[in-house]
């Protein structure tokens, strides 16, 4: 059973039948977390680095931003019995257009924001598929914790 995670959205589940999937990761980031002991996993698909960009949006749409969305993803997993030290983190996204300056580098800024948050909170990234010109689709299988990405025209890749 596939559960789709929309843009500026997240899904967390311990349903062993579920495969979480999020499409259309361009400059956006997909964060897949999984606790193999209690078999709880979640995906967050955020669009932008910082909620301070727009005071209203951060309360209305906290999942739109890295700094408000990532804590919510972890907290939701804890509700299902996940423990931070056991959680495996894999990420994908942060694609870029061809940019000679730093005028359009939202993908890079999204990635940098996540690194900063994880560094501050001692979270390690187990594996990642970042950057480039291609949009990605990210999958997380709850029964096994398997994470993979699909790239248009290139096929699938295990993370």
């Amino acid at each position: 059973m596939q559960i789709t995670v929309g843009v500026a959205d997240m899904q967390v589940t311990n349903n062993p039948q579920a495969v979480l999937v999020t499409h259309s990761l361009g400059s956006c980031m997909g964060v897949a977390v999984y606790d193999p002991q209690v078999r709880v996993g979640g995906i967050l698909h955020y669009m932008l680095p910082e909620a301070s960009l727009d005071g209203n949006k951060s309360t209305e749409k906290p999942l739109m931003f890295a700094d408000t969305g990532i804590p919510l993803l972890f907290k939701e997993c804890y509700r299902y019995g996940a423990v931070k030290s056991r959680m495996i983190v894999k990420i994908a996204g942060g694609s870029q257009i061809m940019d000679s300056g730093c005028f359009f580098n939202i993908g890079k800024r999204n990635y940098a924001a996540l690194r900063k948050i994880f560094l501050r909170n001692n979270v390690l990234i187990k594996n990642e598929d970042i950057g480039g010109f291609s949009p990605r689709t990210l999958y997380l299988q709850i029964s096994t914790g398997k994470v993979w990405v699909k790239i248009t025209g290139e096929g699938e890749k295990l993370l």
Binding site: S24, G26, G107, T152
Partner: protein, 287 residues
């Protein structure tokens, strides 16, 4: 692959499903300040399909009118000429875009979704900049990738060569199209607009939407379509194999006085607008 030119592609343009006659007629009047709501009503009132679409869109979250709209007259009163233009043109265009593009690896409906997204983004940008958010910009944004419908077949055949240039040669996708096929999807789109007698402003905005001509730099409509398209591409939804392989031109940012933070604000504004625009994907396209 042997390179081709516009003349070679004319039969392909002729074999496209035609725009519904009503839409065709309405588009040619887009740039005519004399055309008011009464003229539009005369054109659309005998088309029950279009009337149904107008009512559907009038009651959508996108236009957000305070009361439910029951009749065509009431709808026209609320909508005004520019919004009426938008609905009529979107109704016609949805028919054109209702197929997949195997060359670009776009599933059925994805090019339409990208096109509507670009039109919605163009509205968001123009409101943010305080420039008119009219039907001319909406139409140019909605139809900017129309050339892909025709070039698709050629991209399919030249796929390996194009991708090699993009991946290893640092070519933007439309640059690779030109290098391998001899023509890019923006130029093909411009030619379609010419064949279909679109107003020059629309034709040029389509032809220049990747800013390949020096003329484009003086064309605000083309610059706005370029920026709207680019922001939608950056977001990553409904993209084909060309993905994000397009160039960001810093001087466009300078031209509009924008910084990367502003782009992020535009994306944050765009997403809820796009949620409201879902009714565009329920437009009926029988003729």
């Amino acid at each position: 692959m042997m390179k081709i030119d516009i003349a070679h592609i004319l039969p392909d343009i002729k074999s496209l499903p035609p725009f519904p006659e009503v839409t065709q007629k309405v588009i040619t009047t887009l740039d005519d300040p004399e055309v008011g709501i009464q003229e539009l009503v005369e054109i659309v009132q005998y088309d029950p399909n279009l009337t149904a679409n107008i009512l559907k869109m009038s009651n959508s979250a996108y236009f957000g009118f305070p009361r439910e709209v029951h009749s065509l007259n009431q709808a026209l009163l609320y909508l005004g000429t520019q919004n009426l233009f938008k609905i009529i043109i979107a109704s016609g265009a949805t028919r054109l875009y209702g197929r997949c593009c195997n060359g670009y690896i776009l599933d059925q409906g994805e090019l339409w979704r990208h096109s509507v997204s670009t039109a919605v983004m163009a509205s968001v940008i123009s409101r943010w900049l305080g420039v008119p958010d009219g039907a001319l910009l909406f139409t140019a944004a909605l139809l900017h990738d129309i050339g892909k419908l025709v070039l698709d077949y050629y991209v399919h055949d030249a796929f390996t060569e194009i991708m090699a240039l993009v991946k290893e040669g640092n070519y933007a996708f439309q640059e690779a199209e030109r290098a391998v096929i001899g023509i890019d999807h923006a130029a093909v789109g411009g030619e379609i607009a010419r064949q279909w007698n679109f107003p020059d402003k629309i034709r040029l905005a389509i032809a220049y939407h990747h800013l390949e001509s020096p003329e484009a730099l003086k064309n605000d409509l083309a610059l706005l379509v370029y920026l709207a398209d680019l922001l939608v591409i950056i977001l990553g939804a409904n993209l084909g194999v060309d993905g994000l392989a397009y160039r960001g031109h810093p001087w466009v940012m300078k031209h509009f006085g924008l910084r990367v933070r502003h782009l992020e604000q535009l994306l944050a504004l765009f997403w809820p607008e796009m949620q409201k625009a879902q009714e565009f994907f329920n437009l009926d396209f029988r003729v």
